[in-house]
Each structure stands twice: as structure tokens, then as C-alpha cells.
Amino acid sequence: MLGFLKNPVVVTAEINMNLVALTVMGLISRLWGLSYPRAVVFDEVYYGQFVSLYMKRIFFVDDSGPPFGHMLLALGGYLGGFDGNFLWNRIGAEYSMNVPVRSLRLLPALAGALCVPLAYQILVELQFSHCAALGAALLILLENSLITQSRFMLLESILIFFILLAVLSYLKFYNLQRHSSFSGSWWFWLLLTGVACSCAVGVKYMGLFTYMLLLAIAGLHFWHMIGDQNLSNVSLMCHFLARGLALVIIPVAMYLSFFYVHLTLLYRSGPHDQIMTSAFQASLEGGLARITQGQPLEVAYGSQITLRNVLGKPMQCWLHSHTNTYPIRYENGRGSSHQQQVTCYPFKDVNNWWIVKDPGMQQLVVSNPPRPVRHGHIVQLVHGITTRYLNTHDVAAPLSPHSQEVSCYIDYNISMPAQNLWRVEIVNRESDTDVWKTILSEVRFVHVNTSAVLKASGFIGASLPEWGYRQLEVVGEKLSKGYHQSMLWNVEEHRYGKSQEQKEREVELHSPTQMDISKNLSFMAKFTELQWKILTLKNEDTEHKYSSSALDWITMDTNIAYWLHPTSGAQIHLLGNVVIWASANVAALVYICLSLWYLVRRRRKIYDIPEGAWQLWVSAGGICVGGWAVNYLPFFLMEKTLFLYHYLPALTFQILLIPIVLQHLGDHLCRSLLLKSMFSALIVAWFSSVYLVYCTFSPVTYGEPSLSVTELKDLRWKDSWNILIRKQ
């Protein structure tokens, strides 16, 4: 019964001291003096804002990427007890005491440090020697640019960490595949691959490139399995489904969950509200929700409404009118109707109120019970304060002469009849009898006589001259090509009008809306909208002092100054280890040339290296050269502003290639003993030069010690580098 006690309880632990030592060195190099400099460094000014907004739970939109990375940074702030009170306005500003600099920078630094052991493991899993693996890890350790990038509140090091993790776990999974399919660890590494991929994509969209690469490699491996006649169809199917689950379904679910957490955390309205639709804004606490709470849902005849243009570009605006008229002649000599101006006004104003009127009836109040307006109904829109009717006619609009002018009709008795009937078309309707709903319905107003569509001009510079108070132009568009958002309007504020008399009505228009109902968007609707905005929101192309083109990166012709001490010459630059960059390029070149040579020779049935070594060579190259290519080449097609740090993921893969090529050269090309020892000596010499360069540049990597002017001038190895030298 107590048989199990017969044998002693033994715990055997195998500790790879290499790995431990590397991790410790990685931690030291990345974490040493982390809270220096105690000032805003480069893009911290950008990410810091978002951390603050997370702390305050205020909603924001960042078009640079998905929210997982920002959330991780915010987690650091949360753990350090940051209250979010810091004005992120300029690079180099001193942090106040309430900012936990160390914990904000800790997560990226940890991620950067862990890349070192990860590199070691990847090479081991690629079945290269421990010596080569050690070399790869040391190269990552001594790469100045990776150190700089991971020591601050930036996202690249986290991205690289997840990319390497995904690659490592896929390799582990693949190596387990041969003997123990569907075992516990097999599942673990497979699932970890999917999770790491989705994390990488969640930090920055660049992660997508590596994800695609891994998918392609997994697809290729599976294709080889299909050719394996020993596997039954059923087990093939199981393999396929397992991969589909882990590599497609789980990443998608994780990605959605990032947004779910993001939207749950940020429930207050904030500076970026205006970008979103009214419905989205109404779901945030404060802001629009405070106004729209309790509005009636269905627009009825007699409703008082404000109409917001759906496009929201170049700025959000509401349909507006005021007592001023169009000038009789414009500056360029064209004539106008001289009727009351109708514009799109970017601010809330009592003149934004309109009343929906039934053309067949005189009254401007909602009857009891209210008669809802449906799709296809014909209405008149009456301006609340001036009680004039929205009108359009065949007169050229002030700024867009090919479109019709829109005005509020004034009867001058000059044989220009009122044309004020508009057909309501709900674009996002479900059936043709849909009711026009507040906030939710996107509506086109089609003019009955001319079939022109009410449109906010929306191009940049569409603001009217002085006579129109720089408000935006509104026109009737005759040639309506498709459904452009500038032709869509939605009701934002809404109430049922009760006042018969104009005087009372004005009082009513000035009073805030009161009644109460709540509208909640589903998570998927919010997600789709936010995702769409992130992808389509375009910042104006900004020129930046340190922006560079993708071609400059290979040769490192450019650098980025991150920080400069306010008084001394101490400074931090994103500047790589020149020897490592150069050798990485050489390694890639050697790899490609050798592979081509081998390939052609193999095609002629000449085998230079054993089959096993060839397989290793190909799989290592597939990961490293492939990883470099997918993370680098797409930048040539991109039109956004590019910086040197975009190259770092590609560089990491390229660095991993160096020891692979070296080991291959040593094993297969150096045949004689003499050559081998010479080769080793060369490697030692080369490695010490790497270390020397690391030491030389470490002052601009860590920002200490402060260098004198001559020392700084000596560091300027390339003319194109921009090292800051204080004028005496």
C-alpha cells in the first residue's frame, strides 16, 4: 500500500548555466540605471499621453496601432501607482515626482532583456551548436540600438520579444511533432505560438508580417505531411484542425479580447470623441451621452433636431443657418440667390436646430400620438430660430460651382419659387418601412424637384469667406456617385417640440434636452467602428527631422537623437553597433549566394554538403532570412513617415543569421585543421571588435557619462549621423 514510499522522492533539475548567465547579463544591460534620465525621452512623449489617458480611463483613438502595447505600458504605470497627472508636451521635459519612471520603463526593458535568452534558445532549436547559440545571444546583448530602444517607454522591444517567442515556440512545436504529436507539451507550444503571434500583432501591426511568415512555414510543413503516406486521412484532419484552432482562431479571439479590455477600461469621453460616430460617442460616459440621454428614439413630424454630417472631415459639423444672406455677387463675379445662408458649423449652437415638418400640415409640434417619419417620406425642414425652409435651386453654390446652392428660402417675389421638399432616405435601413431613428439612422436628403442630395462639401478649404464667417459650405450635389459619407446626416440632439408660438419655441430651443433613455452599442459594433477608424485615420504627412527612408537603414546612414541633457553634452541616440550591422549584411549576402550555389549544384545532382546539413541550412535560412525580408521589404511600399527603429525587428532576425553562417562556414568549408584554427582566431578577433564598438558607443546608448566636444566629434563615424554638439 505504501509502495510508492519504497523509492525515494527525487527531483532532478537541469539548469543550463549559459542560459542563466545570459539572462542575468541581459537584465543588467537593460535595467541598469533605468530611471536615468528622469526626463521625457523621444516617443515617450507620445506613448505617455496614452498611459495617462488609461490611468484616467478616458477614451482615445491611436491610429498607429492596436491597443495591446499601450495597455502593457499602462500596466507598468498602474503597478507603479501612476495617477496619470503629467503633461506630456515636449521631449526633454523633467518628470515630476508623481511619475513612476522606473516602473513605466520596466516592462519594455524586461522584454528587451529576455530577447537575449530567446535568441539562444532559437538557435538551439534550429539544431545549431551551443557555441553558435551563445554567439547569437551575445550579439543581441551587445547591439546598442536594441539596448537603447528597450530602455525607454517604447513598443519595439515588446514587439521583438513576442516575435521571437512566437518563432521559438513554433520551432519547439515542430521538433516535438516528429515523435510526440498531441502530447501535452506539443499542445502547449502550439498554443503558445498562436498566443505570441496575436500579442505581437496586438502591439504593432508590424507583427502581422512575422505572423504571416509563420503561417506560411506551418502551411509548408503541413503540405509535407500530406505527402506522408503513413498518416491516415483522419489523423491528417486532426492535425489540420489543431493548427487551424491554434494559429487562426485563437489569435483572432485574442485580438478581439484586446479591444474588449481596451473598450472596457476606457469608458469616459475624451479628446478623440469627435472622430467617432454619434452612436459611439453616446456610449461613452460624459460628453455626448450627457446630452443625448433620454431623447426620444423615433423622429416624428414636429421633432426638433440637430443634424450632424457623418463624414466628420476635415472636422465634425452640424447643419446650420443664420439670418445673414449670400452676397449678391461673389468676389469672382458670379451671382447668388441672395437668400439666407445654410452652412455646416463645427460648434454647437442654437442655430443648429431644425424642425421636421409635414408638407401637408401647418403645425410645427408633435401630435399625440407622434407620427414617426419613415424611409421615403417627404418632409420640409424648418430652421428653428428663423422659421425659414431649407431650400435648394439651380443656382451655383459659392465654392463648388458645379453643385447647387442650398439656402433658407426668402420670398423676394422674383419668380424664383420655393423648392423645399426633401425625401428622407435612410441608408442603413433594414426594410423600406424603417422609422428614422435618432443617432442610429444615417439619412440622405434627396431634393424632390432636382433630385440633388444635401451634402457638406468636406474638402479641405471648404470654408466660406468672411461673409460666411468661415463656416463650411453646404451644397446640393446633382451627380451623386454612390454613397459618400459627406452626403449622410444623422440626428444627434432631438426632442419632441411642444410650443405652438415662435417666442415659446425659441425658449424651448435654448433649453437643454432632458428626457431619458439609453442606447448601447454591442461590443462587435464598437470594435468594427474603432478598428475601421484606426486603419483609415490618416495623419497628415509630417516631415520629421529624424525620419529616414528604408534604404538608409541597411547601411545605418541615419540615427535618431532621443535625448540631450539640458546643460552637459550627455545625450542618447538610437545608434547601432556598426560592426554587427555590417556583419549581419555580409551574413545575409553570403547566405543568399551560398544557397543559390548549392541549389543550382543540387539540381545537377552534385551534393556538396550532407543532406542533414542542407535541411538545417534551409530551415534556419527560412526563419532568419525570411524574417528579415518580411519585416523589411514591405517598408519600401509604405508611404508613411519611417524611422530607423522600424528596422529593428528585421535586424534581430539578421543578427541571428550571423552565427548560423559562421558555423556553416566553419563546419563545411574549412576542411583542413589549419584553416579551422585560423577561422576560430578570426572569429575571436571579430568578436572583440564588436565588444570594443559596443564600449565606444555605450555613452550615447546609456546617456552617461557625459562626453566632451572632441569625444563627440570622434564618435561621428559617418557624416550623415547627427550627433548633437553644443555650441560653446
Binding site: G227, K481, E543, K605
Partner: protein, 668 residues
Amino acid sequence: WDETHFGKMGSYYINRTFFFDVHPPLGKMLIGLAGYLSGYDGTFPFQKPGDRYEQHNYVGMRGFCAFLGSCLVPFAYLTVLELSKSLPAALLTAFILIFDTGCITLSQYILLDPILMFFLMGAVLSMVKCNSCADRPFSASWWFWLSLTGVNLAGAMGVKFVGLFVVILVGLNTIYDLWDLLGNLSLSLVVFGKHLLARVLCLILLPLALYMAMFAVHFAVLNKSGPGDGFFSSAFQSQLIGNNLHNVSVPEHLAYGSVVTIKNLRMAGGYLHSHWHLYPEGVGARQQQVTAYLHKDLNNLWIIKKHDSDTADLSDPSSPVEFVRHGDIIRLEHKETSRNLHSHQHEAPLTRKHFQVTGYGINGTGDSNDFWRIEVVGRKAGKLIKVLRSQVRLTHVSTGCILGSSGKTLPKWGWEQVEVTCTPYLKETPNSLWNFEDHINPKLPNISLDVLKPSFAEILLESHMVMIRGNSGLKPKDNEVTSKPWHWPINYQGLRFSGVNETDYRVYLLGNPVIWWLNLVTIGLYLLMAVSTAVTLKRGVQLTSELKELSRVVLRGGGQIMLGWLLHYLPFFMMGRVLYFHHYFPAMLFSSMLTGITWDTLLWFCAGFLSPSTTARKVYGGGFLALVLLTMYSFYLFHPLSYGMIGPMASDPSSPMAGLRWMDSWEF
């Protein structure tokens, strides 16, 4: 519609005036040639769509395009026949192309697309033919088809840069071919070398030579100054008869006191310009505007002065001529207004991060912000500065910024001229480089400009740079509704060729929806078939010889066509320029060929399951007939689209086309 473009360019060839277009010249030269041969005199102005041709002889040009367009059908027929060895498949493809309204409309008018598609299909056909000659290499027919491929490639590239995609297709096919030959151990390396050389000769050197010859003809024909001059550099302009730089002579080296014009080196850069108008209130300092202006004008003239000395001693004819040297500090005085070129730390009107450039001072007396250091790119200090040939950088002395032109157009107050700024970012771009074009100094001897006659290679390079820039400059404007690539295969929206109103004679470019949707379904179907076939083969299932043949057609033949479709469609998703519906038509040709092959093999495969061969044949024949009849009937329904229609718009229920408006986005 676009006839206004290409017809006009045809006229330019006939009149031999120089013009600029974003496409290479072959297509327009052919149009011009056709017009010339058919007796068109090149005098019709082609001003706006819908103008009547009156007595002008335009039929030749249209007929030429239509002829090339109709060649597509036999080409596609032969290609499919070669790939699938099945007559019905080839017939089906031919019927699809014959009865597609879009193809008909596109090839009826004076456009580049029929010419492009002709060369493209020609290249594909000769490539396929050449592949089938592979069993007897170096035979006469093999050489013929191989070199014909090369000729067609040059043609396709020479009409539009989209021809590059078919070059890639042929290139990939050739690499695959060579790889196959390399693995064939019965061939010696010498034979393989011969194969390689033959392909290099026919597919690289021959097309390149033809392509260059095409440009040589283009430049030889167009030797008169015309509307395209301003896009090109000073050296280029000196080649054109009638341009004011043609055969003029100016002093060679820049000297103090010279009157000069200064041209920006950016493509279509413009001259440094100033005039009596001030920057408006709120735009930097209220000083005189400095802009870049594309046209020649007296306000482009500037006088070079020393920074420290006055004007008086320079105008004295007896004083010795002093040359401007690299690194000198100078002052530029505007000749008409006598104001100095000036910059200061106010933000520029449009590019907010740059500094404003103004005209400042009265009669040449200003302040130290008027000083500029003049430097020649790639030259040492103390060297003289050459007119026209030196690329010059002007650095503002007190702020260290560089004079440049941002390329943005100023609003009304700046007369829609181009903004000039002083950029603090010290990057070497053509935006911040200038050269001196006109140079007037009575004290210096004139030399002839012929010394800077650019070589053919330089002209070729420059015209390509200008074309590429022009192409990437065709950006959609804000909020303009443009056609998106995903619209195309689903035939979402057509293109109005002529006529807008109810009374006009309207032609609308829209594919025959039945055919296009059939094509779309077929692409999905093909992918399904290809994957299942490949998996079956990979699993090592034993197939009958008939099925093996079918799978070969699906994978090899269909694969080539599918690759062609992908190459002619996917790149458009990455293009930033304005896209139009007609860009899809080359891809549509491939898609139609794929339809022919896929349905033929599918019907064969289904019929193969039926045991008696007579029923099998009936099923096969019936299916084929049904498809053909379907395309014919749909053509009968939609033919007014391409042959023109009169009457109310289709959105009006009384129109005869009312029932055919199957999608809301169609506007015929």
C-alpha cells in the same frame, strides 16, 4: 471621354510638337501613325468630351484601335486551345470575349487599352506557343515564337507601364522553364548555356533595344517646343525647336551683377519668383511674396550682388568682372521690385515647420537676414559656378536653413503659384536644389549652349523620372469618389464614356454582368479544383490516364492563367494613384480564359462518372451549350450599353433598360 487625351496626343505627333504624358509613347505613336495614314491632319482640338468631329477624319484612328481590340478574341482562343488542347474550352473563352459589352466598348474608341491588351495577349500567346515547341528547341518556329514574345513584351511596356506585369509573368515562366532544363541531366551544361543565352537575347536584350528605339523615334519626331516643356530640365528644353533655350548663348560662369533666373530642380519645379503683392494678414510677416512660378516672366529675374557692397560700383562698366565662387555669401535682389530675398523665423504659409521666405528691403538695402551662402553640390570651395550645369544650394546665413520649394500650391492670395520655403532639415533633395537658367551680363562673352547637349541615355532617364513622378502625382483628391480595386471583379460600377443627360447618345463602360459574375464564381471554383487536385496527387492516389491529363491542364495551364490574373489584379491594391474601372480589363482577359479552361475540365470530370459514353457526351455537350447560350442571351440584353442608348435614364421606370439595372450603383 479619354479620347480627348489620346486623340490630342495623336495630333501632337502629327504636328510634331513636344508634349508630356505619364505613359510611354508607343501607344500614342501608333494612334498618331494610324491617323496620319488615314489622312487625319491633326487639327481637331479635342477640347472636351462630346465635341463633334465635324469633317475631321477620325475613323482611321478608331478603326485601328477596334481592329487591335478584335484581335484579342483569336488570341485568347489560340492560347486556351494550346493550354487545354480542348476545342470547346477555347470556343467558350472566345464567346465570352465576343459577347462581353465591356471589351466591346473599350476597344471601340481611341484609347490605349486596346493596344495594350493586344500586345499583352500577343505576349501570352507566343509564350504559350513557345512552351509547346519546347520538345524541339532551336527550331525555326521555336525561335520565331520566342522572339515574338520579346517583341510583344516591348510593345506592352511601351504602351503603358502596366505592361510590366506581363513581363513579370513571362519572366517567372522562363525561370521555371530554365529550372526544369537545369534538372534534366541528359542536357549538358553547354546546351543549357545555349538555352540561357537564347532567352537572354530574345526576352531581355531584344525588348530593351526595341523599347529604346521607341523612345528614340519619340524624341526624333517631337522636335518642336510644345505644352510639355515646363516638365523638363533646362538641358532638355534646349533640344526643342522654338523653345527660348534652343540655340541661345549665355555667359558660362556666374558673376556679380548678373541678371539671372533660378529654376528649381524638382520635376516641374518652377522659377524663383516675386511680385508686388504682400503675404496676407496672419501668414507670417506682412512682407512681399516669394513663390515658384512655372511660366517665363519678367518677375523671375534676380540680380546677384555681394552681401557687403553696394550696387553702384557694379554698374560701373569699367570695374573688372568678379565671378561668384562656391561658398560665397551673396544677396539676391529682385529686379522689378528691388527687394532682397529674405528669410526669418516665421512659419511658412503652408509647410508650417519651414521658415517663411519674403522679399524685404527698399532699393536693395535690407538687413543681415538677406544673406545667402551659395554652394555647388559636390564641388570644393573657391570654384566658379556654371550656368545651367551647376546644381546650387542656397543656405540662409543667419538661421542655417536651405531655400527650397515645397511643391504645394498657394491659395488665391498667392495667385496659385507654388510655395517657396526655407527648410531647416538639411536633406539633399531636388526640392532644395536650384540651377541658373537665363544669365545676362553684358561684360561677359557668350558661349553656345550646345556644349550641354544631353546624351540619349540622359534624356531617356529624365523622361522616365518625369513619367514616374507624374504617375505618382495622380493622387485622388480629398473626398473624391474613386473606383476601388475590389469594385472591379464584381462589376460594381461602370464608367460613363459619353453622354450624361436623357437626350444624349450615351455609352457606358460596364462588363456584361452575367459573364463577369460567371468569371468571379469560376475563380473560386478553380481554386477549389486546384487544391483538391493537388492534395489528391500529393496523397499518391492512382489516377487513370484521362484524369491525369485533366489534372495537368488544371494545374499547369490553369495555374499559368491564374498567375496572370493575380499579377494583373493584386498590384492595384497597393497603388496610391487614381484608379479607374478600365484598369481591370487585362486581368479580365485572364479571368475569361480561366473560365473556359475550368468549366471545360469540370464538365469532362462530371461526365466521366456517367458510365455509357453517349450519356456522358450528352451531359458534356448540354452543359457547354447552356453556357454559350447564357452568354449570348445576356449580350442581347445588355448590348445597348456599348452600342449606345438614347432615352430616359435607367433609374426611370419607363426606360427600356429599367429592368436591367440590377445594382443600384450602375448609372446608365
